[in-house]
């Protein structure tokens, strides 16, 4: 992992230092750090010569740009209508039961954060969830155990890429 200052500089070199390059830079920091700390927002503001409030304002608008510390694997369970009809609750219970965390919490070891999210666009294969950028669909409590175990051992089972 690169130190933040270096990461921000590299991202700015890659994408550019205009205002319109702000989002890709924020995304780049989140990709490595999983969230945007106050410090990284200051660094981005400095690098792009923007008021730090502007960086903060943009960052806090987007639900995938987290601004508090997250686990290594961010689980986002879809809660929109079809997933909610097709058993989102059981999925959440299975995850909570296995990881011993509630929605919004991170495990003690910093490995998992559990969140809910809005429509992931897999309504025909509900219920669905994301773990970082990987999509998992047609979930059942059994499947949850299998998927999470794979993450626990860092031997990740791939999600579904094309429906």
């Amino acid at each position: 992992m690169k130190p933040i200052t270096e990461l921000v500089k590299d991202l700015a070199d890659k994408h550019g230092r205009d205002r319109r390059n702000l989002l890709p830079i924020l995304q780049g920091v989140v990709e490595q750090e999983k969230y945007l700390s106050e410090y990284s927002m200051f660094e981005i503001a400095r690098e792009l010569d923007l008021p730090v409030t502007e960086v903060y304002g943009t960052a806090t608008f987007y639900s995938f740009l987290e601004c508090k510390k997250m686990g290594k694997y961010i689980i986002r369970v879809c809660k929109t209508i079809t997933c909610s009809m097709k058993g989102e609750r059981q999925i959440l219970l299975a995850i909570q039961d296995m990881l011993k965390i509630k929605i919004g919490e991170t495990t003690q070891d910093g490995k998992f954060t559990l969140l809910e999210t809005n429509c992931l666009g897999f309504c025909h294969k509900a219920p669905a969830m994301l773990i970082n950028n990987e999509v998992y669909t047609e979930l059942t409590p059994e499947k949850i155990r299998e998927i999470l175990s794979s993450y626990l051992h860092d031997k990740i089972i791939g999600g579904e890429h094309v429906s």
Binding site: T58, L65, T117, C119, G121, H161, S163
Partner: protein
């Protein structure tokens, strides 16, 4: 087509066609005006849901003089119940890329963007590969055009075109006042054509087979086919290409589970149609002479009699309250008050007549909210509360 298909299937979008190079070269040899006229005579309307005539959009942008113009493919597919755009981009990316480039040629843009929602991050790699192959070919035929992917970060509102520009400019995704429209003042203030993924894929069909082939399908004012994302209580959820203009009762006979109580047409921002209105409703853009025509970005969610319409509305309102950008008061406060209001009625803290006040609030939002999000909350709210009033109270 299997024997129990009631609604006729079509197969243009996903048809495997490996001749995009030829389609691109042939159409680059035609004049921009010819291409615009082809689109106008096909009567293709925007497939994102709003239904603006595509040919006219291209024409308006092409007529403006500017050094910089842009083509943007809107792949911020966020409407609950919609999942077709991802499928198009993963199965037939070259059709979309060809269409973006042809649009660039028509309006005089050198650069195109695909705004891809953050949830579809996993598509990025394949898509980048397709783009570099595509750009390589463009270079070979000496057609100067670049396509970039811009990733979103989980904001439904960024599917609204002006919010999408703001987002691409590195700002909060807050919609702008319209006018000026994107055709004149879009990304970075330059004339911009922004089209839905599916709209662009249809233009490929039209440029390849001619406008007539497309125009001959569908009904008056709603020409051509459309991809439908079908989910909910159905034995066959998935993506289907169907002709516009079908009646909702045929649709339910085909895709329902014999116990369909209501269908949500057009996602959370669309309308809920109860069983008794199925036969009087058709799927297409406004202007058909008989019955009610409902437009849709393709989201069709079926609910059977085991579903509580209160829960459905509660879920939608939670969605809107979270996804409202918070910029204008009617939407920011309205969504939350509607949500609080139906809960209070359900718990008996407010009388049933309070629902009428909430309907009034929804109507106010329809007139005063700044963008389509706030304005369309009334669609699902009113259609659910009016048709299932007793479920809201008891």
């Amino acid at each position: 087509m299997s024997a129990n298909d009631i609604v006729k299937r079509a197969d243009f979008i996903f048809k495997n066609e490996n001749d995009w190079e030829e389609v691109l070269t042939k159409n680059l040899a035609r004049t921009p005006n010819e291409l615009i006229n082809e689109l106008i005579s096909s009567e293709l309307k925007g497939r994102g849901g709003a239904g603006f005539p595509t040919g006219l959009k291209w024409k308006l942008t092409s007529e403006l003089k500017s050094d910089e113009k842009y083509v943007i493919c809107n792949a911020d597919e966020g409407e609950p119940g919609t999942f077709k755009d991802r499928e198009i981009l993963s199965r037939v990316p070259f059709k979309v890329l060809t269409a973006i480039a042809l649009c660039g040629y028509v309006i005089g843009a050198k650069q195109g963007f695909i705004y891809l929602r953050g949830e579809y991050f996993f598509l990025q790699q394949e898509l980048k590969k397709a783009i570099s192959e595509f750009e390589f070919f463009c270079k070979e035929i000496k057609f100067d055009f670049k396509i970039n992917i811009f990733m979103g970060s989980g904001a439904y509102i960024c599917g609204e075109e002006t919010a999408l520009f703001e987002s691409m400019e590195g700002k909060r995704g807050e919609p702008r006042n319209k006018p000026p429209y994107p055709t004149a003042y879009g990304y970075l203030g330059q004339p911009t054509v922004i089209n839905n993924v599916e709209t662009l894929a249809h233009t490929f069909t039209i440029f390849k087979y001619g406008a007539k082939r497309f125009y001959d399908l569908g009904v008056q004012f709603s020409r051509g086919t459309k991809l439908f994302s079908i989910s909910g209580d159905t034995p066959k959820p998935g993506i289907y290409e169907l002709e516009l203009g079908m009646s909702l009762s045929d649709f339910v006979d085909d895709f329902g589970d014999d116990d369909t109580k209501a269908v949500q047409v057009g996602g959370a921002s669309g309308f809920l149609v109860p069983r008794k209105k199925f036969s009087a409703t058709s799927i297409g853009f406004e202007g058909k002479l008989v019955g009610i025509s409902l437009p849709t970005g393709g989201s069709m969610m079926l609910f059977n009699s085991s579903r509580s319409m209160f829960n459905v509305l509660d879920n939608y309102l939670n969605f809107f309250a979270e996804e409202s950008c918070g910029q204008c008061t009617p939407c920011r406060v309205g969504c939350q008050q509607l949500l609080k209001g139906i809960k209070a009625v359900k718990r008996g803290e407010k009388p049933a007549s309070y629902l009428d006040k909430l309907l009034g609030l929804a109507e106010t939002m329809q007139y005063t909210a700044k963008c389509g999000l706030g304005q369309s909350v009334a669609n699902s709210f009113t259609s659910i509360v009016e048709n299932f009033r007793e479920e809201m109270i008891y």
